[in-house]
């Protein structure tokens, strides 16, 4: 398997070099040819190798002019061409990555090393539910957790109410009174707001070995806790992630597209990373963390909007593994309005980009991560940077077109087609198709072309968020940024 991976990596490198280098030379050649053929013959022309003397004349003067013309191409054109080829090469790398993951899921060996643990001395667990104005959903989550088959004396539920202005606090207090031994709530009224800060505060009260996090809109099944805890029997595992499944799929176009996107992300992307010993990502909900691992990397970072990505990378740098369990599924509520969706993805983009800035270089020089973990980790960090780059690629291509550069030649034409025709690459669509097939849902695949709407809007939102992230003081916010809930209150 490893030699196969090495072979693929080598192929990827050769292809990338080919794509970046060959079109450059072809472009130069093309520019020269165009100039030469457009020249008019002059009096002192010396023709050679000419079948029809009236057709093509190559003169010493012309040749000089061709050379001068090539050299005189404005520097801006060269710069833009280099930029465009770099962007297309990056897109190509992500395309290969998507295909690699998808083929691995379809034909590779699947790893589920911990899912079958059913009898063991289960460790102690605290299930944390950060909540801010979650009156519509929090009781569902608590009720579901109370039905868990995890040994009753081994787990506690810790809802964290952070300055809710609705009935969330009253609901939590009510449950805490009914189940005083099981539910240990935390009420926050001061300090930095936000999920990461809430988790940081609550972790101080945790005395158990494992910490499981559910967002307040999740509905865990009876046996889910055991499944989420089982990877922690592995002393190398610092965090684990389960699969998120939207339950409000049929609500509208957006929820249906979200369902497709989640399928691709979890069923293919995350599980492929797990299969290939790469970097599955802790997603901040339906997942857990080993408390000793968390302590060893300095606990939660309250200054980030993506405490999940941040933790994944800090654990990786410290030699801990994050694992993914595709069969540990839990229902969530997908955003039902475009506004909520765009806010959600903007938040993710800001948080993720902060991690990109923080951890790209440390990961590159890390002594614990393998070469493949480094490559995958860096590519994963770069996913939200690709949207603005893609937009930049479009703008560059348009400018180059008006500067008279002809880009549609050779291999590059195929890449240009996929890069610009499918908002990045077709591989993402292929990945979703494979995920839907693996989920045995044959009809919903028909919605695939409409996903371009989701991709386009997300791309714009991510680009805006990325630029906002670069502005001073925009990286951290002092208020709760969360997705709007649409469920009816119990």
């Amino acid at each position: 398997m490893q030699s196969m991976q090495r072979l693929l990596l080598l192929g990827l490198f050769i292809c990338t070099t080919f794509i970046v280098a060959v079109p450059q030379s072809m472009a130069s050649q093309a520019a020269g040819e165009t100039s030469a053929t457009s020249m008019t013959p002059s009096e002192n022309s010396v023709s050679f190798n000419v079948k029809d003397p009236g057709e093509i004349y190559v003169t010493e003067t012309v040749l000089e002019k061709v050379v001068v013309h090539s050299q005189e191409k404005p520097w801006i054109t060269d710069a833009l061409l280099t930029l465009l080829y770099t962007i297309v090469a990056l897109i190509f790398i992500y395309t290969v990555r998507h295909y690699w993951f998808t083929f691995n899921r379809l034909f590779g060996t699947q790893r589920h090393p911990y899912i079958d643990v059913d009898t063991a001395n289960w460790p102690t667990v605290t299930v944390v539910i950060p909540a801010h104005n979650e009156e519509k959903v929090i009781s569902h989550t608590i009720e579901a957790l109370l039905e868990s088959d995890y040994p009753a004396n081994k787990f506690r539920i810790m809802p964290i109410n952070d300055r809710s202005t609705d009935d969330t606090e009253a609901i939590i207090k009510d449950y805490a009174q009914k189940y005083p031994a099981k539910i240990r709530p935390v009420f926050r009224s001061a300090g930095k707001p936000g999920k990461a800060a809430a988790l940081k505060d609550a972790t101080r009260f945790i005395e158990t070995e494992i910490l499981i996090v559910f967002d307040a809109d999740y509905i865990p099944g009876k046996g889910l806790l055991k499944q989420l805890v089982s990877p922690f029997f592995d002393p190398e595992v610092g965090a684990m992630m389960g699969r998120v499944v939207p339950h409000n799929v049929g609500h509208n176009l957006l929820t249906r597209l979200m369902d497709l996107e989640r399928s691709g992300g979890y069923q293919v992307d995350q599980q492929a990373r797990m299969n290939m010993h790469l970097v599955p990502q802790y997603g901040g909900t339906v997942g857990g963390v080993r408390v000793s691992a968390l302590d060893s990397v300095g606990g939660w970072d309250a200054k980030t909007l993506a405490e999940d990505t941040d933790l994944t990378y800090r654990l990786l740098l410290a030699g801990w593994k994050t694992v993914y369990q595709n069969r540990s599924e839990c229902y969530e509520e997908a955003p039902e309005t475009w506004d909520a969706r765009l806010k959600q993805i903007s938040r993710w983009a800001k948080g993720h980009n902060l991690s990109t800035a923080r951890y790209t270089l440390p990961l590159l020089f890390n002594r614990h991560a393998s070469l493949f973990e480094k490559i995958d980790g860096i590519l994963l960090l770069g996913v939200y940077v690709m949207s603005p780059l893609l937009l930049l690629g479009w703008i560059t291509a348009i400018i180059l077109f008006f500067l008279g550069e002809y880009l549609m030649f050779g291999v590059i034409s195929l890449l240009v087609l996929t890069s610009f025709g499918a908002l990045g690459n077709f591989a993402a669509f292929f990945e979703i198709s494979a995920a839907v097939r693996l989920d045995s849902c044959r009809q919903r695949i028909r919605l695939l072309p409409l996903n371009i709407i989701n991709f386009l809007l997300s791309m714009i939102a991510i680009t805006r968020a990325t630029f906002a992230f670069m502005l001073p003081g925009q990286q951290f916010r002092d208020f709760w940024e969360k997705t709007e809930r649409f469920r009816r209150k119990l």
Partner: protein
Amino acid sequence: MWQPFAVISLFGLTLALLILPLLPAIIELRRKTDATPLKVVQDYEVDIHHFANHFRSYIHSNLQTLLHTCHQTGEPHSDTLQDGISYIVLPDDAKPVFSKKELHKKITQRLFACTGTLYLPGDMSYLSEIYTGNTLHGGDNDIYRAVLSEKDVEFGENSILLRWLHAENIVTVNNGCTLHGRVSAGQLIHFKHNSKFERLHAPAIEFGIPQNNTHQVTETIPFKLEDYKGKIYVSGRRWLINGNFNIPDNYQVDADLVVRGKLNIGNNVVIKGSIKSHKDLHIGRNVLIDGSTISINNIYFDDCCQANGPVLSEKDIYLSKSCYIGTKNQAVTINARHIQIHAGSVIYGTLWARHGGEARIDTE
């Protein structure tokens, strides 16, 4: 005159070309033929008794009265249930009654239910479930689809189980049996001779006769971290080693050990924590591991080892003679692609060989 028509036609054609590929999507969006959430089994428990419990409730709701009547009258009763399943209900300690066709083909499709002990003849295939309120004694070379016994089950030689078996007390497996699917017992699963299995669960699973020469407490030397400076990265209780590692004989390690290479553990070693290796894990004689034992590759246990936590391998596990996995008070899981277990070993809890396991008892 034709110009507006041409423009409209061109516009219409362009629009049609644009919409045509989206047509299936638009139809699906309107009709919602596949708009339900993915099935997440909310009440999923990793419960090996699932099929047995389901079948018991089926028997109780469909054949309880008949079983009672049969017990009182001593007469067998045969018929077909509303769901189309043919059955035969037998009185206590009766031998099953077969039709001529069944005897000729040596196959029965009928469900067998009996309140007492059931003695089954050999060389038959029972392609429907069997229920017995007492003990089931199987004949040699029998094939069973599924068996539920409220007491014990004893399989004859070279028998094959196709789907599942549950006995409230003891399951005894004789020579040459092949147990596909799930086998569970309330007290004990005992392999008398060589057999094959997949998934087993019981408070104790014995392979041959358990030996007394299990893990012996020996004097150990504390493992010194100072000797391995720069090789072992310590983070709390966890020691991380990027490469191969050997623990010499008679040492004691008070940590969780993660080795990203091969791990060789010498004889009489005590690990007061969990261990994990990325490559093969070789465990010497008389080793005690307090926590879990995990490897991405194969795990080899030498004689008389004791592992108190789960044992998980992404490849194969080989248990030599007299190894104990789990304890009487703490059941655990041992899981691998293939598992080979030799005489005298005992597993407490769940044993799951995803691609098949082998009890090697008579080759010693």
